[in-house]
């Protein structure tokens, strides 16, 4: 060996594989304005479509008159439900087994519902056109309060379902009822409550909010009349699913449908489902023979495409007087709006809400969920969330704090007492999940030591005394949250979308010079897949990450995948990538053995190639193997070096974390200040710590926004009153607190690289931390639970109700 040979550390560093804080390769274009988003696409002759929307939340559509609109210069067509009926597309199936109007068919069911689609030569003409369409409405009584939706005399919202006593998920109890979903052992749980020393019961609401990607939902549809090919560029988190949905509902051959997600500016669940804009653009292109672009504006995004949450959770916990939890009972009233357009795996009407037992060893639990219709926008999607795990985490983390308060126990101590213990994994929860791994006590204690939890409690006690003496108008709250997520949907035994199992896929093709391309079934909407996927491959097969190009989002070239949402990319696609890489490595080993003239079993892997056991100087690098794969493979072996893997995960993964928020609230104005926020995440193996940190920062910022003010609110007549960023709380850098991040590593035992997923953890765990901080601050004044969002005026109202002001 010559002296200049690189050290092992240098060889490893050169790969920039797993564990490396590799700079994001996509940022070179994003930070220079050179991304390629849907709205950047300009095709020759392209037309623009825009919607006439309903000003009413519930009304009969008496007539639609397009005459004047068609006279507006540049306006070419006005598409209505009647037009769509000719191609059988006036309604479309939702992912949740319901159907949804594409354009108002006889009536409208929520404000800003799509009524007609105006197609014009430019955006301006389209907008002038929609202002010239005359629609006559007859207003109908509205249902806005979910608790009134199932009143006996509540207006009938879905006339198309009249007389249908059962839906996609079983029997319907009322004309505005969608489904009831129950899990767990009712009798055992009821018995636990009868025997309990202490019980709590609280209605914990998670208000309606909205994922708000920087880029709104949009598409360009282009139908080629000669070949019969339909190409749709769109902001899709799951392009393959969109292709299959289009094939099924438009009866087009799937090979003639090309769905392309170019760069996507954030998704957060907003871009999973199918929206009327996609259908209308496609139909308009088929009708006109020209490409048609549809781009949603911010108000449309906030008010019409899918919302999130709107879960009203009546939560009961039974416990012994020592603070051991003995039972959990939750009933959820789930407001889905006008159509059940949840983007959940098909068999899960309430997503994975049955993770609601959280991080605690509940011997028994029972859950029931009633889904209902109201005159609000349809949904709801999983906003940076694995299908209702966010709601579940909020429910149990608030519940545990309320229980601690009733027991007179410290909330951290109550959690430590009830955690599932490290030795109990794999752990079977009372509501049916098998938690793969965890070490909750270590994480919790690390959090408590880092922030000096005991000292904070002492400071809080002193502050409370000072407040009582009239020396300060500030109250201090500590918000503890310990969440367990369930991500990586999912195993084919229980997860599918419209019958397609929720596997994911990767195809790797290596080139002769030691480079290659990986095509993956996931779709980055900002998570940095081009960076991290290459890192997995770099570590697995010993080629520098820089040599691996990652491509996603084109259904013609990428293998079929179910897309990116629910923190599933790393648990599922990430596993497929590792498995495809391992297939390549196995072939590479045969090539190396042949070239080194030894038996395969005499070779061992060494960072970036193989070496002969016991003869460290006899090596063959992966780079050389790539070359050999194209000219001197063993006799009988096919040349080339590529592999594809479709990965059906054996289980979900269960990331967890310990968060704490320290907050001060001025009771006179309700203004809060987040003094400190510490987030410890355990997402198993860490592929790129810098990207993880970025994900945590982003997710915590969303959690902060949601808990402290971000809300889709309706007035009693069904008008959205938070339809722009003036009123829908989107924090700027000024409002956003400083985030401290930390970690432990408990690898997933069943995942090929032990990774669990992290993108959504901070949103899931963050919301309860903020809300618990506010609630903890007010608790000494005699309150048990204050509903979110905790914006200034609501904090002031709470202070006033509790006698702390005026």
């Amino acid at each position: 060996m010559n002296d200049m040979a690189p050290t092992r550390e240098q060889r490893e560093a050169k790969l920039e594989g797993m564990g490396c804080k590799r700079k994001r390769v996509e940022d070179a274009r994003f930070t220079q304005g050179k991304g390629n988003y849907v709205d950047d696409l300009k095709l020759p002759g392209m037309l623009h479509g825009d919607f006439v929307r309903s000003p009413h939340a519930h009304a009969r559509v008496i007539s639609i008159n397009s005459e004047k609109a068609l006279k507006v210069p540049g306006v070419l067509a006005v598409i209505t439900a009647e037009t769509l009926k000719t191609v059988n597309l006036s309604w479309m199936p939702t992912l949740a087994g319901d159907v949804q109007m594409v354009l108002a068919d006889g009536k409208v069911l929520f404000q800003n519902q799509e009524v007609a689609f105006v197609v014009a030569t430019d955006r301006y003409a389209a907008d002038d056109g929609i202002n010239a369409v005359e629609v006559e409405y007859e207003a109908l009584p509205v249902v806005i309060d979910p608790f009134k939706a199932m009143d006996k005399d509540a207006p009938v919202l879905r006339e198309d379902l009249v007389g249908k006593t059962s839906g996609a998920h079983g029997p319907r109890k009322h004309h505005n009822h969608i489904f009831e979903w129950t899990v767990g052992d009712k009798d055992l749980t009821d018995a636990a409550f009868r025997k309990a020393d202490v019980t709590i019961k609280e209605l914990i609401s998670y208000h309606r909010t909205h994922p708000s990607p920087l880029e709104t939902c949009q598409c360009v549809a282009s139908f080629d009349k000669i070949n019969g090919d339909l190409t749709i560029w769109g902001t899709f988190q799951a392009p393959h699913v969109i292709r299959t949905v289009v094939a099924l509902i438009a009866s087009l051959p799937e090979q003639k449908i090309h769905v392309i997600s170019p760069d996507v500016g954030g998704g957060f669940g907003n871009k999973v489902g199918a929206y009327p804009g996609y259908i209308c653009a496609a139909v308009a292109s088929i009708v006109t023979g020209k490409p048609v672009k549809w781009v949603e504006d911010r108000i449309e995004n906030l008010t019409a495409t899918s919302f999130a949450r709107d879960y009203h959770m009546t939560t009961e916990i039974a416990a012994t007087k020592e603070g051991r939890v003995t039972g959990l009972r939750v009933h959820v009233l789930a407001d889905h709006g006008a159509f059940d357009a949840c983007a959940d795996p098909s068999k899960w009407p309430a997503g994975f809400f049955n993770i609601v037992t959280g991080s605690y060893d509940f011997p028994t639990a029972h859950l029931s969920v009633d889904g209902i219709y109201t005159n609000k926008a349809p949904g709801g999607v999983a906003y940076r969330c694995s299908f209702r795990v966010t709601e579940a985490a909020y429910c149990i983390e608030r519940g545990m704090d309320i229980l601690a308060q009733k027991l007179g126990m410290d909330p951290a101590e109550l959690r430590l007492k009830n955690f599932i213990k490290a030795e109990q994994f794999p752990y079977h929860s009372a509501l049916g999940w098998e938690y793969d791994s965890g070490d909750y006590h270590t994480a919790m204690k690390m959090m408590m030591e880092t922030v000096k939890y005991a000292d904070l409690r002492k400071e809080q006690a002193a502050k409370r005394e000072a407040f009582r003496r009239g020396e300060t108008r500030d109250i201090m709250g500590l918000g503890v949250s310990f969440f367990t997520e369930i991500v990586g949907a999912g195993p084919s035994k229980n997860c599918d979308i419209l019958g397609i199992a929720m596997f994911d896929s990767c195809e790797i093709r290596l080139h002769p010079t030691g480079a290659g391309i990986a095509r993956v079934g996931s779709k980055s909407t900002g998570q940095g897949h081009e960076t991290t996927w290459a890192q997995i491959i770099a570590t697995e097969i010993g080629l520098p990450a820089d040599n691996i190009k990652v491509e996603e989002g084109n259904t013609d070239t990428a293998p079929y995948g179910l897309g990116t949402y629910g923190s599933r990319s790393t648990p599922v696609a990430g596993a497929a990538i590792a498995m495809a890489a391992r297939k390549i490595k196995a072939k590479a080993q045969m090539i190396a053995a042949y070239r080194l003239e030894v038996h395969e079993d005499d070779l061992e892997w060494d960072i970036d190639g193989f070496r002969v056991k016991g003869l460290p100087e006899k090596t063959m690098s992966m780079k050389d193997i790539c070359w050999a794969a194209y000219n001197s493979v063993p006799p009988g072996m096919e040349p080339g070096l590529e592999a594809v893997s479709y990965y059906d995960p054996p289980n979900m993964t269960y990331p967890f974390g310990a968060y704490i928020c320290v907050m001060d609230i001025d009771v006179d104005t309700g203004v809060y200040k987040v003094r400190r926020f510490y987030a410890l995440d355990d997402c198993g193996t860490r592929i790129n710590p810098m990207i993880i940190e970025g994900q945590v920062h982003g997710g915590l910022t969303e959690a902060f926004a949601i808990a402290m003010g971000q809300e889709i609110r309706y007035d009693e007549t069904g008008n959205v009153v938070t339809g722009s960023f003036m009123d829908f709380f989107m924090p700027t850098a000024v409002e956003t607190p400083h985030w401290e991040t930390d970690f432990t590593v408990t690898p997933s035992p069943h995942h090929p690289i032990g990774a669990k997923g992290v993108g959504e953890s901070p949103n899931v765990g963050g919301v309860p931390a903020f809300s618990n901080a506010v609630n903890d601050a007010f608790s000494f004044l005699g309150s048990t639970h204050i509903q979110m969002p905790h914006d200034f005026w609501r904090n002031w109202q709470a202070a006033k109700r509790l006698g702390a002001v005026g």
Binding site: D127, D128, T669, G670, M726, F729, V734, D791, F792
Partner: protein, 287 residues
């Protein structure tokens, strides 16, 4: 979010602008920074057929001293105000207020003239101008006139501007040296209009308030001058009881709308808090 059709005009003198406004009639609107007008046009809440852009007019931008007054040209941007040394020295409350208007992007475009002429109760400058005893120079088909800020605001988006008139300058009597000042604004986030805001300019003498003016933003259809509250504090050392009395007097004249910033009761209550905090801070600054 696409405005209706309009034509664009760019006159090079105030006289030409006035002529255009007169000849084009009701469907014409002056355009300054566009940061109130254009959002309304994008929502089609405003659909002017003609925009008369004031950016081509020389001589209505900038800050100058004229005897005992400070004259601010209508087309001076919020950013220009922040950059002006004269403002920081003589009218520091203007600097303080400009800093809590919107965000840097908006402040680069938004003008002081547009802010005070707009007539939106959410704008921060109008209450301040009332507090400072400013007057506006208006030029129209009938010539030039001066209207004091305290008489200018008549209702939401309804001012004393006559058809064809352009606001060319704001004239502010320089406050006494050693005056105390504060603008206290409660808002939900950067870029938001006030939930409640109070402007205070006062002088102290022997530990007591000698003169005082208090303005209120976004607590009624128009900006307000809280005269009774100001009277209450004069001659006092701003003890806790006086502050509370002043806040109560100010709350008396508030009639905010209930909106996303909070219910009426809350907005009035924090309006009172802003008055107390502004008074205290102003007094602490007075020399």
């Amino acid at each position: 979010m696409i405005p209706g059709p309009f034509s664009y005009h760019r006159p090079s003198s105030v006289a030409d602008a006035v002529k255009l406004l007169v000849s084009l009639g009701d469907e014409a609107r002056p355009l300054a920074g566009g940061h109130s007008l254009i959002p309304m046009m994008k929502l089609r809440l405003a659909t002017p057929e003609h925009l008369v852009d004031l950016h081509g007019i020389a001589g209505i931008k900038g800050v100058r001293r004229d005897g005992s007054t400070i004259v601010i040209g209508a087309m001076t941007t919020q950013h220009d105000l922040l950059a002006s040394e004269m403002i920081s020295k003589s009218l520091p409350i203007l600097h303080e207020t400009a800093l809590v208007i919107a965000d840097p992007q908006v402040r680069y475009r938004g003008t002081v003239g547009g802010n005070v002429a707009n007539g939106d109760p959410g704008n921060d400058m109008p209450a301040l101008m009332m507090t400072l005893g400013a007057s506006y120079t208006l030029q129209g088909p009938g010539g030039t006139r001066s209207v004091v800020a305290r008489d200018f605001y008549q209702g939401a988006y309804f001012t004393s501007l006559e058809p064809g008139e352009i606001l060319t300058a704001i004239v502010i009597p320089a406050p006494a040296s050693g005056h105390g000042y504060a603008y206290e604004k409660l808002k939900r986030k950067v870029g938001d209009y006030a939930t409640a805001a109070a402007a205070v300019v006062l002088t102290m003498s022997g530990g007591k308030v000698a003169t005082c003016a208090i303005g209120l933003t976004n607590l009624s259809e128009t900006p307000l001058l809280a005269e009774e509250a100001a009277k209450i504090v004069i001659g006092t050392g701003l003890d806790e009881a006086t502050l509370k009395k002043a806040a109560a007097a100010a709350e008396e004249i508030m009639s905010p709308a209930a909106d996303g910033r909070g219910p009426i009761e809350y907005r009035k209550s924090v309006g009172g808090i802003m008055v107390m905090r502004a008074l205290k801070r102003a007094a602490a600054r007075a020399g």
